[in-house]
Symmetry: C2
DNA sequence: CTGTTAGCGCATTCAA
DNA sequence: TTGAATGCGCTAACAG
């Protein structure tokens, strides 16, 4: 394979210059330290021979590459799709290639892919999935990260993973609070939560934010007002139905991500026959693109997903300082049609 | 950067064996031609030193890599998200890394990324975006593809790009026909089409399929019953509104992708006040995940997106034969709530 | 400004 | 089965 490749050497020969000169012309970093004439000859030769540079060889010689890895749970999930889109847009401006790995939520895979990216000598890795509360997994990951950084690689997290990592944090707690207070302001006093898997830090923070807000409002979240489901549409449907069967008195429910909220909307309507927002108000989380197209249009906590992806790339380009860097991105409550006032 | 990396050489030394032996143990392709004792020693040394292999060096030495490129228009688009998810799942089984490049629909970028992937010595590239009817762009792309293949790389397309490329074709024409006939069977006789950009081959084929079906049914598509919009939600909204203002007599409209259909549904309802499906039936195309969550739930032509991604990866693993290979995937009409019978 | 030279880390002959 | 030697294509001193 890859036998017929034209080499820099051949280009140099054809142009009648040395290998070094050809390298300077074709890959030289801006500092144009090559004469006009030779430069032209090299470019002509490269053109004529259809030269394509060999990135692995460059990576080997330079001990660094133009690849950045992006590890997500699932590319088909709009949440990660948006983050990836932002990251790729920013990467393009820096002429970086993005290598995406999807763990499909298998915990071990994250580690495996990080290792793989490390083998690729990726310049940096963005960890976009939520961290988990599993201490063992976290420790092993931390070790791998340390190794990667020791080799000169950069690691940036989107979402909380640990205090000494550069990270882009979105206001999960803040967003949870925003949603709870929003519902409260609408008059709701019996509010429930459809949560995702408790190991996910993102979920914990969102729930925690809501919990605190409610407590400070004087209406602490009762244990049976919280139910847990898979972080999927189906998980949202099942959990929402379960919650409202157990607590039919609830007038509002906060669902901790939009994909689950889509399922919740379906479940409340089809399985339970409860009108949204007349009988129950629903608030989602993330504001993924399709949220506004659900009926009723989903009220939700908007997170700047694309911006987070961009910020992550920007962060990994800055030289890593002595202090871990953090970029905080705010959340915003978007009220659409799935929420209404209530008299209680 | 990447200075501290442990090398194979060091592992060999620590294990008291030669570089070659260490290489055979750690990277040898199955054929276990190394003695039990030495093997153990090498593995122990690698473990202890936390050795991570250097993929670029391997790529250079063996002149091939474990990277496959995937070029899409937009990762945030659920259509490509699904294809990417399928491809990544299949890639994982083969221990391949997927490098995704997003062109954001800029035509020139596709070429640039293909070139970049070629520079990476990617083992193969999957071209997932629709081809275009622009002869010049197509020719330049063909040239780049030929170069890539000449170097031993494999190229697989998802969607039609040319007769001599290995490709996974989804039934775009067939799906267009299915939709048209489905509407016809529901009693619709005045059917319109909201199309996407005419340069996209995918769009052409879908439209063509619908056109043919309608003609053979004895109700050829009138020129003013077809309108073109951007391949986005907003494009769908605007185009649908325009179409139904121009042809208020239409009782059904086929929208050539689901994202546009979401916009069309919104436009019909909010801008025009037309009830779907009572006044107008709407059929989308693709069956992306959120289609069933739109209200009314979108009737659409289902394409096996994930399967296409998987098929593409499988295709590029088979040795390329003398004849270009083609995998054909069928479409299926899914009737939900956005379509109804009509007497009109 | 340009050329010479010495590796980068690894796979792979070829001998032993 | 194992080891020594060679080169993959390129960059980065260094020397001129």
């Amino acid at each position: 394979m890859h036998t017929a490749g034209v080499t820099l050497q051949q280009v140099a020969q054809q142009a009648g210059v040395s290998l070094a000169t050809a390298s300077r012309v074709l890959h030289g970093s801006g500092s144009r330290t090559v004469g006009e004439e030779l430069r032209r000859r090299v470019e002509a030769a490269a053109q004529e021979l259809r030269y394509v540079s060999n990135a692995p060889a460059q990576a080997l010689a330079r001990a660094t590459s133009d690849v950045v890895g992006l590890i997500v749970h699932d590319v088909a999930d709009p949440y990660f799709g948006a983050i990836a889109a932002g990251a790729m847009r920013a990467a393009r401006e820096q002429r970086l290639m993005v290598m995406i790995a999807a763990t499909f939520r298998e915990p071990g895979l994250e580690l495996e892919y990080l290792r793989s990216l490390r083998a690729q000598r990726a310049r940096a890795v963005i960890l976009a999935g939520s961290g988990t509360a599993d201490a063992d997994a976290t420790a092993r990951l931390a070790e791998e990260i340390a190794g990667f950084e020791a080799d000169g690689g950069r690691v940036v997290c989107v979402g909380e993973r640990g205090p000494d990592l550069d990270t882009v944090v979105m206001a999960n707690r803040g967003g949870g609070g925003l949603a709870a207070r929003g519902l409260w302001d609408l008059g709701h006093r019996r509010i429930g939560v459809v949560s995702g898997p408790a190991e996910l830090l993102t979920v914990r923070h969102r729930l925690d934010g809501a919990r605190r807000a409610l407590r400070s409002l004087g209406a602490p979240l009762a244990p049976d007002a919280v139910t847990v489901g898979d972080f999927t549409r189906e998980g949202g449907r099942v959990a929402a139905v379960r919650l409202l069967r157990a607590r039919p008195d609830l007038t509002a429910v906060l669902v901790l991500n939009d994909v689950m909220a889509a399922g919740a909307l379906a479940g409340l309507r089809d399985d339970l026959g409860l009108a949204v927002p007349d009988r129950v108000s629903v608030v989602g989380f993330d504001d993924v693109p399709f949220a506004a197209d659900l009926r009723p249009a989903l009220s939700t906590v908007r997170l700047p997903l694309e911006a987070a992806g961009e910020a992550a790339v920007r962060l990994l380009l800055e030289p890593s300082g002595d202090e871990p860097r953090r970029v905080a991105l705010a959340a915003e409550l978007v009220l659409r049609d799935s929420t209404a006032t209530t008299v209680g």
